[in-house]
């Protein structure tokens, strides 16, 4: 892989702040670096340097970092130029690199090269993609952790324990004439319990990471005029929806992306649910139900001055089974009631005023709890939906394994499949689907 062409790109996306970096990668960059910097950069040492134009004038001044192959991010020679100037200057530095023979990198091409040079496994490579499009700062933090291989590390540890257990089981099956009962001797079933706990913890952290990346969908529903649009405006901190005293104001569903403690929540304000002859409102109500079916949580607004009406009970009965429900009693300012929240029998109630904002902080807490956020991005792995699926599958296998402890060859089979599921994350036993996803993600083999 020494004769690859030179690619260059700015490494921080424009408009997101931070230091602008131009990154260059390719085979044999020493001459390239000399032409650009006017001196030979020391490997792996940050040096203050001028970035020179073709005529020898300085374009910008900044830090140059040179990583000779193979000890670099991509496994090739890599040159990183951290400039001080803004976007315009950054573009000039990049332009100079292109003049010197580099071509603009395709999206994800650095990662692709790193991947092809065995610099990272699949989980790590995918984290890089996550890093590229991580929308929130929390997500960026979590993506970093996973990039350092912590997620892979945790999975590897799990797989190791599993391999250890499988070893015992397989030994029992393949060596029946040995005097040792491998399974009893090493407390194999105790090991299974430990692995299940271990997997549960990774799963929990992975769910957190996935929540940070993907967020959750919250539907604001209820009868007309209960204050759904008002609440949306209050949560968003701006007037995104029209509010009037007229029942049936909202027709088209209104979507708003709101971050609460760094967790991206996708709110959708819907038309008030009621029997109506109005053609437009009918369509709005149909859309509301559509939004409800896609939601992770339903926020049912109730006018606190009216209390829970039969119409509200009808709505509750029509909700998809299993959809978590939060009841919001709005307009407490009219009752001069204090904000509050309670959770009884799995039903969570919040008392607030969309108008004054009293009690909205309580709603925040209850919402985060309901989408499964355990606070702080610290323990979160940047897991993708596919990882969660694999972890879930592995977990399911281990449950089945538990159930057939007495039938040892089936026990062995479930363990094998659990391992298969896990290793599909780190890419050790690649499956076709996985590659399909990677190919759609990175510009490999166009």
């Amino acid at each position: 892989m020494s004769n690859t062409d030179v690619i260059a790109a700015t490494a921080t996306a424009s408009g997101r702040g931070g230091i602008g970096v131009v990154r260059v990668s390719g085979g044999g960059l020493a001459d390239f670096a000399f032409a650009l910097l006017g001196k030979a950069p020391k490997p792996r040492v940050a040096t203050l340097s001028n970035f020179l134009a073709a005529d020898g004038n300085t374009i910008d001044q900044g830090v140059a970092l040179f990583f000779p192959a193979p000890h670099s991010y991509t496994g090739e020679d890599v040159l990183e130029l951290q400039g001080h100037g803004g976007d315009a200057v950054l573009r000039m530095v990049l332009g100079r690199c292109l003049e010197l023979g580099a071509r603009p990198a395709e999206p994800g091409e650095f990662t692709k090269r790193a991947f092809l040079n065995n610099k990272m496994d699949l989980a790590q490579a995918e984290s890089v993609a996550d890093l590229i499009d991580a929308a929130t700062t929390e997500a960026a933090k979590s993506a970093m952790r996973s990039l350092r291989g912590e997620f892979s590390g945790a999975i590897h540890l799990l797989v190791e324990s599993l391999i250890n257990l499988r070893m015992l089981v397989e030994a029992t099956l393949d060596f029946p004439e040995e005097e040792v009962d491998f399974i009893a001797e090493a407390n194999a079933f105790g090991q299974l319990a430990a692995i299940r706990a271990q997997l549960g913890e990774v799963f929990r952290q992975a769910r957190q990471g996935s929540l940070l990346r993907e967020g959750a969908h919250v539907a604001l529903i209820g009868q007309p005029n209960v204050g759904k649009s008002s609440l949306l405006n209050q949560l968003a901190g701006e007037e995104v929806a029209i509010v009037t005293p007229v029942a049936g104001t909202t027709r088209d569903a209104i979507r708003q992306h709101i971050e609460i403690e760094g967790v991206p929540l996708h709110f959708i304000d819907t038309a008030g649910l009621r029997e109506t002859e109005d053609e437009v409102e009918k369509i709005g109500i149909a859309r509301a139900w559509c939004a409800i079916r896609q939601a992770n949580v339903a926020l049912l607004l109730v006018d606190a001055t009216q209390g829970v009406a039969p119409a509200d009970l009808e709505i509750i009965a029509a909700l998809p089974p299993g959809l978590p429900l939060l009841r919001v009693f709005n307009k407490i300012d009219l009752l001069e009631r204090e904000p509050g929240s309670s959770g009884v029998d799995g039903v969570t109630d919040v008392y607030l005023s969309a108008k004054t904002g009293a009690g909205v902080d309580l709603l925040h807490q209850q919402l985060l709890r309901m989408v499964g956020w355990h606070g702080g991005g610290e323990g979160a792995f940047m897991a993708r939906a596919r990882h969660l699926k694999a972890l879930g599958e592995a977990e399911g296998r281990l449950v089945l394994a538990e159930a057939c402890k007495g039938r040892i060859e089936l026990f062995a089979e479930e363990l094998r499949l659990a391992q298969l599921a896990l290793s599909s994350i780190t890419g050790e036993f690649t499956a076709d689907d996985l590659l399909g996803e990677i190919f759609s993600r990175f510009c490999i083999g166009k």
Binding site: L116, N117, L173, D174, F175, G427, D432
Partner: protein, 635 residues
């Protein structure tokens, strides 16, 4: 002299691989010559006198399902039969037999002598006749030249064999036979990748000098099972028990005291031995905390007093062997009839083979058995059968045939060998098979016999037997599916007796049989349900297929998912150095292995998922190139 008869297939070697290869080729109608250096040792069991075991029994059943001789010969020679793992489930259940060496040799020789299209000739082979890179025959010790379309080499441990007892060694094949030195030299000249392994045997003992009263008796199963699908326990000769005793601290001290004269521990032996079948000196050195090791005292046959103490294979000097043997309980006054020894031998890196077991280097030359780095009679027989079939097919101008990994242990073994190579003598284990639940002993015939019929290795008798069994299974499955048990017509006592509890609604018999705790014979005793089928093989098959249906269909789904890669062919002339984006290691490994499919490439160690995606890209690109060129042409 050029021998006047022109053969289709020549098989070199009359061991377990050679016998099956020659028989298969001859069954397929090919004029076949079996060359052996000694007709008296055809079918010789040179190591322990037993056939089968976990994984190995599976291979034997598959060889049998393809018309091979090993299981049938064992039925005629077996002096003890046992089903191992019988409580652990049908997939890992396996048959194992002790065999009388003499009877086994007779059974094999009889089959070879009576097989139409098969000629035997006693003469050591010294050289291969080559035309360019294609084999056209062989040359024997006397300079006789035999010509054939294809040649199967099954030289076992005879290639450059070197026997060690203590620090002295001499050139030999197994069990006192001469080694094939000239041929080994010749093969080395042909630039085939040669490496060296070692294996060993224990000293043999005169059974009359043993005290069995202090040993634990290990009887065979009663009734004894038959090994062959066509077999019958009535074919078995008189049955004998085995015995179990143990080494002790004193044995271990004696061994430690002799290590300075051990060829293993003084570096005289360079070849790699199997980790799962270590010599006794290896065991006590590597597992020094264990103060006792098990020894199976196995009779060598009905007509001899010799016994085989399985578990104390050794190459220690003879004086140490005498002391260590006599330190064992029951062996205090044992007389050794033959010293134990280690043997080093040449094998060829199987990475140089195709799935058909044809060498990539020399067209028409097939390798089977221990020369491919495997160990065991069963592994040898299975390869011999496959090589024989493919040598015959090549002689007929037909494509290679081999079973897939999901179809047979034979497929698993061959794929493992040629894809991963070997780092120690290769032995079959059930854990090597990812589709273990499908690859059972009990369904080996259902997996392979029909295909064997198409290949021409299944005779009419076996075919009729198989068809009858298959039809009986289908008929009984149909009956169980369409017979319903009505809860109102079922007395509660009967339901509790057979099903454990009352049923809440109507069930078919097949549904009831799926329940883990309902057994077929018992189910047949429900009023109005029986009598069921009397053939135990049929009812067993019906029961297993019902109970394992969920697992079986899931494995079938898994197979279907992988099928895609397995069918993506990689060109054999592809130079991986030219594949853009492959790491140096990847290029090297792939050029070394030249995998036949992408699936096989993915199984090569050192070939990363990244490399596979690069290959996918490469294949896709090549495909597009072909498309665009052909479009241009047609435009």
């Amino acid at each position: 002299m050029l021998y006047p008869t022109l053969f289709d297939v020549i098989v070199i070697g009359g061991g377990h691989a050679g016998a099956e290869a020659a028989l298969a080729s001859a069954r397929m109608g090919m004029k076949t010559l079996l060359l052996t250096h000694n007709i008296e040792t055809l079918g010789q069991m040179s190591c322990n006198p037993s056939i089968g075991g976990i994984g190995k029994g599976h291979l034997v059943k598959e060889v049998d399902a393809l018309g091979g001789a090993m299981a049938a010969a064992t039925d005629e020679a077996g002096i003890q039969f046992r089903i191992l793992n019988s409580s652990k489930g049908p997939a890992v259940r396996a048959t194992r037999a002790q065999a009388d060496r003499v009877l086994y040799r007779q059974a094999i020789r009889g089959r070879l002598e009576n097989q139409p299209n098969l000629w035997l000739f006693q003469q050591a082979v010294d050289d291969l006749l080559l035309e360019q890179n294609r084999v056209v025959g062989v040359v024997t010790q006397l300079g006789l030249r035999f010509r054939a379309s294809t040649v199967v080499l099954t030289a076992g441990t005879f290639l450059a064999g070197l026997v060690h007892v203590g620090l002295s060694n001499y050139k030999a094949g197994r069990a006192g036979d001469p080694p094939s030195i000239t041929l080994a030299h010749r093969l080395r000249e042909l630039a085939l990748p040669v490496k060296r392994f070692k294996t060993g045997t224990p000293p043999r003992i005169d059974g009359r000098t043993l005290d069995y009263s202090v040993m634990e008796e290990q009887p065979g199963d009663n009734p004894a099972p038959a090994f062959s699908f066509l077999g019958d326990p009535s074919l078995h000769p008189r049955q004998l028990p085995c015995w179990i005793t143990h080494t002790n601290q004193r044995t271990h001290e004696i061994i430690r005291g002799g290590l300075d004269r051990s060829p293993l521990y003084t570096g005289v032996i360079a070849g790699v031995g199997p980790r799962y079948c270590p010599s006794i000196e290896d065991k006590i050195t590597r597992f020094s905390s264990k103060d006792s090791h098990q020894i199976f005292v196995e009779p060598e046959g009905l007509g001899t007093h010799e016994i085989y103490p399985n578990g104390i294979s050794t190459s220690l000097p003879f004086d140490v062997q005498v002391d260590l043997v006599r330190s064992i309980r029951g062996f205090e006054s044992a007389h050794i009839t033959r010293p134990g020894y280690a043997i080093e031998y040449d094998y060829f890196d199987p990475v140089g083979l195709k799935h058909s077991l044809e060498t990539k280097a020399i067209q028409g030359l097939f390798f089977a058995g221990q020369i491919n780095g495997t160990t065991g009679y069963e592994e040898a027989a299975a390869q011999g059968l496959l090589a024989g079939i493919n040598a015959a097919r090549a002689a007929q101008g037909k494509d290679a045939w081999y079973p897939a990994r999901d179809q047979a242990y034979i497929g698993v073994m061959v794929d493992d060998l040629i894809t991963r190579g070997v780092v120690e003598p290769y032995r079959m284990f059930t854990s090597r098979a990812e589709y273990r639940l499908l690859l059972r002993e009990d369904n080996a015939d259902l997996r392979l016999t029909e295909e064997g019929r198409g290949l021409g290795v299944i005779d009419d008798k076996r075919w009729r037997h198989f068809e009858a069994k298959r039809e009986a299974i289908a008929a009984e499955q149909e009956r169980l599916k369409s017979t319903w048990v009505n809860p109102r017509l079922l007395p509660q006592k009967e339901a509790e007796r057979v099903l454990g509890k009352n049923i809440e609604h109507e069930y078919s018999l097949l549904d009831l049989l799926r329940r883990p705790d309902v057994d077929y014979q018992n189910l047949m005793t429900l009023p109005g349900v029986g009598p069921g089928v009397s053939n135990a093989e049929v009812s067993e098959q019906v029961e297993i297929q019902a109970k394992y249906q969920g697992y079986i269909s899931r494995q079938l789904e898994e197979i279907a998912r992988h099928q895609h890669y397995e069918t993506m062919a990689l060109p054999s002339d592809l130079d991986y150095r030219e594949v853009h984006g492959l790491s140096i290691e990847g290029q090297h490994k792939l050029n070394q292995h030249k995998p036949e499919t992408l699936g096989q490439a993915a199984r090569i160690s050192g070939v990363t998922p990244a490399a596979i995606s690069v290959l996918l890209v490469h294949l896709k690109r090549a495909e597009q190139d072909i498309k665009t060129t052909s479009n241009k042409k047609s435009a």
